[in-house]
């Protein structure tokens, strides 16, 4: 263990299902971070930890070492002509928006081409999970906009990787779940938008087939698309929801969002406030959110549209001490409608319910990572309070449906998938293995058979 390691009980994943003791180091300079990597003892592998916004165990290493990256938080340069930004890997997307998305007089500005549903994630985490946003069908994933990155390996080398240089290692590192080395810094290509504000449209739809119709209609002209689904609706109402589409409003500016949440959940309640009752009430209310209108059109800042959950810090605590699971899968376009219907029916039948069910189509923009999650098809994401065996049974069922349909699960959101499902979903796994750094492994990599399960100091301790 590096001598500065300290013991922590507070490094958990966002779903809070796994609580464990970790040793933690927090290097505050890139060279110090690179050195930590060379000091990892054999058989006691470590893993990088960014903001801990992954729901499952990709950033966890119970009993072992975490390399916290948040203090690698310096910008290096921003070329405001070309939109090229270079920063250290612990810089958050919130910080990038604040520093670079300053509206010009005509409302235009630079913007991160891809953002996930929260801006409180690090650049390193966004690359390692190759995250996607509501515009994935047009702009692909985060990794599509990484010009290059510097990767520290445990043998002491620091390699600059890009689509041209060390291209295979680059492909392994984008979406590489922190297993190929420690990303020290990255250069990102920002995009210029004519207006930072968004023109949004919310449209209520009555059944699953309507989602597909609306989605087809929105393919041209709407850059951001996703739908909220009322997961408790069954029968001929199965898959009803609200379709959200948005595009930049030329000439209308929007200020960068705050660096932290405006309000926070102060303490964890002793039991989950997300339960059958509140889920039912929420879904019923959300379904009626548009009032009598079928369609609501507005011009808004992007903050609320991109990051609705960021308004309330620590909202994951509302799920109580047992935490919650996320599930996200993508199934290929052929048979997507049938598979989605099957998934939604299984959820409605189990009656466990979820507040935040999101359905979205991925397009044909190819993600650069060997293990990147996005692929053409339909992706479904949702969360369930952890009610023990019943929840696990439902998740296992959903996993089986997705994999049988030729789909895959998203490691950033997963805490349960089997090694077999992982291997079936990610056919380029064998090419990936060759690029793994022997000093790195996570609870996830051991669970899905990417790393030796006997590594680490024993999770069963």
């Amino acid at each position: 263990m590096p001598h500065s390691a300290r013991t922590s009980l507070s490094h958990t994943s966002w779903g809070n299902v796994i609580r464990a003791e970790h040793q933690v180091v927090s290097p505050d300079q890139p060279y110090a971070a690179a050195r930590v990597l060379t000091e990892i003892p054999a058989g006691r592998p470590a893993i990088a930890y960014g903001c801990g916004r992954s729901y499952g165990d990709v950033a966890l290493n119970p009993g072992g070492l975490l390399i916290e990256t948040r203090r690698l938080d310096c910008f290096i340069s921003f070329d405001a002509e070309k939109g090229l930004l270079t920063c250290e890997s612990g810089v958050t997307l919130a910080e990038i928006l604040r520093a670079t998305s300053v509206p010009a007089k005509d409302g235009s500005g630079w913007l991160l081409p891809v953002v996930p549903g929260t801006r409180f994630v690090t650049v390193g985490g966004a690359i390692a999970n190759d995250v996607h946003g509501k515009n994935a069908h047009v702009f692909g994933s985060f990794g599509c906009h990484v010009e290059s990155l510097d990767l520290a390996r445990s043998d002491g080398r620091i390699l600059t990787c890009s689509a041209q240089n060390n291209a295979e290692l680059f492909a392994a590192t984008v979406g590489g779940l922190g297993l190929t080395g420690l990303i020290l810094r990255a250069t990102l290509r920002l995009r210029r938008v004519e207006g930072l504000a968004l023109e949004t449209e919310e449209i209520r739809f009555a059944r699953l087939a309507d989602f597909f119709a609306l989605d087809a209609e929105s393919a041209v002209g709407w850059e951001y698309t996703a739908a909220w689904i009322d997961c408790l609706a069954r029968g001929n109402q199965l898959g009803r929801g609200i379709y959200l589409r948005a595009r930049h409003a030329p000439g209308v500016s929007a200020p960068p969002p705050s660096l932290g949440p405006r309000r926070s959940v102060p303490i964890a309640p002793p039991l989950s406030l997300v339960n059958g009752l509140s889920v039912r009430a929420f879904n019923a209310a959300y379904w009626r959110k548009l009032g009598t209108a079928e369609r609501v059109r507005r011009v808004v800042p992007y903050e609320g549209a991109f990051f609705p959950l960021d308004a309330l810090g620590g909202w994951n605590r509302l799920y109580g001490p047992k935490g919650f699971f996320q599930f996200q899968c993508v199934v290929p376009p052929e048979g997507a409608e049938a598979a989605t219907a099957e998934l939604l029916a299984a959820i409605a039948e189990a009656g466990q319910g979820s507040m935040l069910v999101v359905l979205k189509r991925f397009g044909h923009v190819v993600s650069p990572g060997l293990l990147s999650f996005p692929m053409p098809g339909i992706t479904l994401a949702l969360d369930f309070p952890n009610a023990g065996a019943d929840t696990v049974r439902l998740m296992t069922r959903l996993e089986a449906i997705a994999v049988a349909a030729g789909g895959r699960l998203y490691p950033a959101k997963d805490a349960l998938m089997t090694a077999e499902s992982f291997a079936r979903g990610y056919p380029r796994l064998d090419r990936f293995r060759g690029h793994m750094d022997p000093a790195l492994s996570s609870a996830f990599s051991r669970r899905v058979g990417l790393s030796d399960a006997s590594d680490g100091s024993g999770e069963g301790r």
Binding site: S4, R6, S10, S26, D28, Q29, D73, C74, F75, I76, S77, F78, L85, C87, E95, R98, A99, T100, V102, L259, G260
Partner: protein
């Protein structure tokens, strides 16, 4: 105030509270002089602050232990932007009381870097602000300076001494319209305190402390406790009758 933002010098610029404060200045498009020991760390921070919006950034590597160099340091901090609107003195170290007890060399080094050096630097900066008849001198002291306690009275005495020194300077500079802001943070989760169990309601982030400082400096407040509840805690700690205080482990 000019629309170009303030001219700000930060002494001890790479300490975490100072970094957080520097980033607030950068967002306000201030012009910054970063003074610190490690030139590479200063370069790294300078690049960061430029991307975050600073109008211009100059760096000044310096050794705060070196008293004879303080005068030149004050002068050089004045040079890049032909004067300063704000100087923040933010350096210091947290000595181990046990190591300092009965060891004059350790204790003297702690008193030197936490009191002698910053007090003398403040005097030099004060003279420049006084001549300019404008500006703000802000200094990070500590709540530890409010009452001597067995667990860290070397640090406490240095910081308490600095507080008195600042009170005197404030008195003197009042007529010239120069503000002196004494910033007293409580527990802040930084490298300096990494050996302590950080966490719990009394611990604040450097960002939180920096945001409070920013407000107090803009207002020109005399003394800031940050976060605010330390004002109440210290009111109580100072008021504790001696017999009771002596039995505590504080």
């Amino acid at each position: 105030m000019s629309t170009q933002g303030r001219r700000v010098a930060i002494f001890g610029a790479t300490s975490e509270i100072a970094v957080a404060f520097g980033r607030l200045c950068a967002e306000a498009h201030d012009r910054l002089v970063l003074v610190g020991r490690d030139p590479e760390a200063l370069e790294r921070l300078a690049a960061d602050l430029k991307v975050r919006g600073a109008d211009a950034v100059a760096i000044l590597p310096a050794d705060f232990n070196h008293i004879d160099g303080l005068s030149e340091m004050a002068q050089e901090s004045w040079a890049p932007f032909a004067g300063l609107d704000l100087a923040l003195v933010a350096y210091g170290t947290l000595p181990d009381q046990k190591a300092a007890t009965g060891n004059p060399a350790v204790a003297a080094a702690a008193l030197h870097i936490n009191f002698v050096s910053p007090a003398l630097l403040c005097d030099l900066l004060a003279a420049r602000f006084e001549a300019a008849k404008a500006g703000t001198l802000a200094v990070i002291t500590s709540v530890a300076g409010d009452r001597g306690r067995q667990s860290n009275y070397v640090y406490g005495a240095a910081k308490g001494g600095l507080q008195l020194y600042l009170e005197g300077l404030r008195h003197r500079l009042w007529a010239a319209g120069v503000r002196v802001v004494d910033i007293r943070p409580g527990f802040v989760a930084t490298r300096m305190t990494a050996h302590l169990p950080q966490g719990g309601p009394l611990w604040a982030t450097p960002e939180r402390v920096a945001a409070d400082m920013d407000k107090a400096i803009r207002r020109g407040s005399a003394v800031l406790y940050t976060p605010w509840f330390w004002r109440i805690i210290l009111l109580i700690v100072r008021a504790l009758p001696r017999p009771l205080f002596h039995r505590s482990k504080l």
